[in-house]
């Protein structure tokens, strides 16, 4: 899976939980889910669970703690996909 495909899937997953649509329109690798997109902590869990389903991977607590930005999330997902 290319990084672009991965990013596109990630965007689809996070969209329903985004509160700040303007930031979402200008999504970059540095976009922070909580500070920029204003996703609440409970919905951040939903993002992680949806990521697990979409990519067929399991995210542990360490992975969850890291997945606060687009860049970090892509990294965690890629690492898990390689390890699969």
């Amino acid at each position: 899976m290319t990084k672009e495909e991965l990013l596109s899937k990630l965007k689809t997953i996070i969209e329903p939980y985004v509160q700040n649509q303007e930031e979402f329109q200008h999504l970059s690798e540095d976009t922070n889910f909580i500070d920029d997109l204003e996703i609440n902590s409970a919905n951040l869990v939903d993002v992680i669970l949806d990521v697990e389903d979409e990519f067929g991977i399991e995210i542990d607590n360490d992975g969850m703690d890291k997945m606060l930005t687009v860049k970090a999330s892509i990294q965690v997902i890629q690492d898990k996909l390689v390890a699969k």
Partner: protein, 143 residues
């Protein structure tokens, strides 16, 4: 941890404690009762001269029994050492019957998942005739 100890450890008190008794509890679900007192404070205003239990209060009863009691049980090892913080994060409840002052309601909750501190449950409420009062999903953070 006994069922009584869980109720003691709940972070609520009158007039906003809505758990009388836990019937059954394990890591996957909980059943518990609450009896609406005829003089609950909200009956003065809901409604004028016609007391009916507000839907938000029914939701709160479902959340206190179905989500918070269950969350405290799941987290019982931590509970002995420190305070547990709870915050409701979402509810989607449908209501089918009204509840009048003095009625006893049974709440049944089934865990959907508990991951990364988020507990999500399917919760149902029944009256003493075993008729469905309300059902839906409630989620919250148990930290």
């Amino acid at each position: 941890m006994t069922k009584e100890q869980i109720i003691e450890k709940l972070p609520y008190q009158a007039p906003f404690l809505f758990v009388d008794e836990i019937l059954e509890i394990d890591n996957d679900g909980v059943k518990g009762y609450y009896t609406l007192k005829p003089d609950e404070y909200f009956y003065e205003g809901h409604f004028k001269d016609q007391p009916i239990t507000p839907g938000v209060i029914l939701t709160e009863i479902m959340a206190q029994i179905g989500l918070v009691c269950l969350g405290m049980f799941i987290r019982k090892d931590q509970l002995n050492e420190e305070e547990i913080q709870v915050a409701m994060s979402s509810t989607a409840i449908d209501f089918y019957k009204s509840v009048l002052p003095g009625e006893k309601v049974l709440v049944k909750s089934e865990k959907q998942y508990f991951r990364f501190n988020k507990l999500k449950c399917k919760v149902e409420m029944y009256n003493e005739e075993q008729k469905l009062i309300a059902k839906g999903e409630i989620a919250g953070m148990i930290v």
